[in-house]
Amino acid sequence: MSRQGEERELFAPGHRMCAGCAEGIAVRNILKEAGPHTIAAIATGCLEVVSTAYPQTAWEIPVIHAAFENAASVAAGVEVALRELGRKEGVNVMAFAGDGGTFDIGFQALSGMLERGHDVTYVCLDNEAYMNTGIQRCSSTPWGASTTTSPPGSCSKGESQPKKPLAAICAAHDIPYAATATVAYIKDLRCKVRKALDTEGPAFLHVFTPCPTGWRHGSDDSVELSRLAVETGVFVLWEAVDGDICNLKVTYKPKKRKPVAEYLKKQRRFGHLTDEDIQRIQQEVDEKWEKLED
């Protein structure tokens, strides 16, 4: 890894992301690690809309967008074409999609791409709801979060389902490399990007990206929330090699986990939760870690 100052920026400034969007930090750093010999497929979503508005583009690498649910199949198509035409050597093929395009509508295409063993690094930028369409719930939305389709009310505590464990499901495809990462831990993120790209075959990266607009927190708090998600144990940084999900390697373990309330109370999407509700979330996090440390 070279020093940041010497590296070429491949995600140009002047894109239209919301102030404080963590996706921008993630994509910029991922592309720095991947370098210019990279071709990316991107799904419809925040990233595509803010970075490719014709006649401009924020991408200094070749990029193709085709639709919402197929970033994995599009990346697969690029990969096989490059292989067939003898242009694959030294070129990374990546896919970028949001949580909606990965957890929900793009899941079938993703599963197919992983199963077929394409040499593609798939990055899911997870902000825990359909943010581009106006903050609707997704299978990535955590229990209790208020979204425009899981509003709290007299009969609702917000989102009623727990978050789908997508990265583990991907790892369970017996792929060579799967990992989780977030923007407060850039070294960890870049290290995982490097491993994913250097691995022959499919790799999956789940990147947790706070969203000031959808989570309703200050635009200067995105990195702090990314850190708090990890320090409280809500989001776990891990990697799994060769699909060995029974032996997840936790790559950063908080010395002493902070109470989840510190993470939740900075976001208005959880503002309606009672102390009891917060306790429920705390208990679920504690149980998750007990299993991890088992």
Partner: protein, 389 residues
């Protein structure tokens, strides 16, 4: 060789030296993917064959591979085509000359596997060229021509050659097969104009505001219009090289001195040729137009034929509910202002056989309309239980 329509399509991909195939099996297209799998297994091609998990991914992977500079091929039918619907627009608007044979099969419900055009007709507005084939030879020849037409610099659009389920797809016929070398002379290597290449990065498939989209739509129409000329050129080149002439957008049969003409598509055309001969022997001056290309639609060609006849019949194997058969609707559009009766015949839906008696009835109804100067009924359902034609 004596082969099925499906084999003809797969063999067409083989001799056109495609780089990437991405496909998903669906009856009655299955032989195409099976036959191509055997070509790969036997080392007859070094193409990459991606066995995707859905038709949506098949078209997505073809779009991406074509955008990366490869010549691509896929094939589908019915439900599979419907699942691709969204991506068909993308392939056309990005000007990616993918070739995709479609085996025309009824679209559920009720679920069935036999011939109907209600799968391809709803795709007529996606920006793909559409051509309907009559024989297995035509299927093979149109796969070759589709690459040449689609990849032409003035066109750069995807092409969908269609064949009737089972009547062609699963029926063997003698087919003359050109060699890979002969095809290579006729069809040069694909020369893409803009590709995904790290030495020249570009963004393909942008988000665009209203300030730009209308021009992009206009460009699609310009290229579709230019395709008319290119289709004829390629047809003529092909005829000169391989000795088989399909006459371009339409083919006329005994129309020269005809009083009435029937327009048919696909395999019903073969039956109709015999009926024309029978009726000619009886002294009835009937003729036939085989509607080959549905996109671009042969507006001027049909009008020219109509100018010399007293009535026209149009056979449809699909219905646009609440309006009429798609071929009928478009023919009427082509004939606007001409004062002749035009009769629409619906038959063979869901794969029901269309036999000589059915076609004879179409001619008789059209002759009656010519004599009376008007059609008794504009839409005639033939062979429908409980419905008098």
């Amino acid at each position: 060789m004596v082969v099925t329509g499906d084999y003809s399509a797969a063999y067409g991909a083989l001799i056109c030296d495609v780089d990437v195939v991405a496909a998903y099996p669906i009856t009655p297209q299955t032989f195409i993917v099976e036959d191509f799998s055997e070509f790969v297994a036997d080392g007859l091609t070094d193409a990459e064959f991606v066995k995707v998990e859905s038709e949506h991914s098949a078209m997505s992977a073809c779009i991406a591979a074509q955008a990366a500079g490869a010549r691509t091929f896929t094939a589908t039918a019915s439900q599979g085509l419907a699942l691709m619907h969204e991506m068909l627009f993308v392939a056309a608007a990005l000007h990616l000359p993918i070739v995709m044979p479609v085996v025309n099969r009824t679209l559920a419900a009720p679920i069935g596997i036999w011939c109907e055009y209600n799968d391809t007709m709803p795709e007529r507005d996606t920006g793909w060229l559409q051509v309907y084939c009559e024989t297995n030879q035509e299927v093979l020849d149109m796969v070759i021509q589709s690459y040449k037409i689609g990849e032409h610099r003035d066109v750069m659009l995807p092409v969908m050659p269609s064949m009737d389920a089972f009547i062609l797809s699963h029926t063997v016929e003698p087919v003359h097969a050109p060699s890979t070398d002969e095809v290579a002379d006729f069809l040069p290597r694909y020369q893409p104009q803009a590709i995904l290449d790290t030495s020249n990065p570009m963004t393909i498939g942008s988000f665009a505001p209203p300030e730009y989209i209308q021009e992009i739509r206009y460009q699609s129409e310009v290229t579709m219009q230019k395709a008319r000329e290119v289709i004829q050129q390629v047809n003529d080149d092909f005829a000169q090289t391989f000795g088989r002439d399909y006459h371009g957008l339409i083919e006329e049969y005994r129309t020269d001195d005809a009083d009435v003409v029937l327009i048919t598509m696909g395999t019903v055309t073969g039956t109709a040729r015999e009926v024309v001969d029978d009726m000619r022997r009886e002294g009835k001056k009937v003729g036939l137009v085989k509607l080959r290309f549905f996109r671009p639609f042969p507006l001027q060609e049909l009008r020219r034929v109509a100018e010399n006849v007293e009535a026209m019949g149009v056979y449809d194997r699909a219905m646009s509910f609440g309006s009429g058969g798609p071929a009928f609707i478009e023919t009427r559009h082509a004939l606007y202002g001409l004062d002749i009766p035009v009769v629409n015949f619906l038959a063979g839906l869901g794969g029901r056989d269309v036999v000589k008696e059915d076609v004879r009835l179409m001619f008789e109804k059209t002759l009656k309309a010519a004599k009376e100067g008007r059609a008794e009924n504009e839409t005639v359902w033939i062979g429908t239980r409980g419905v008098k034609p």
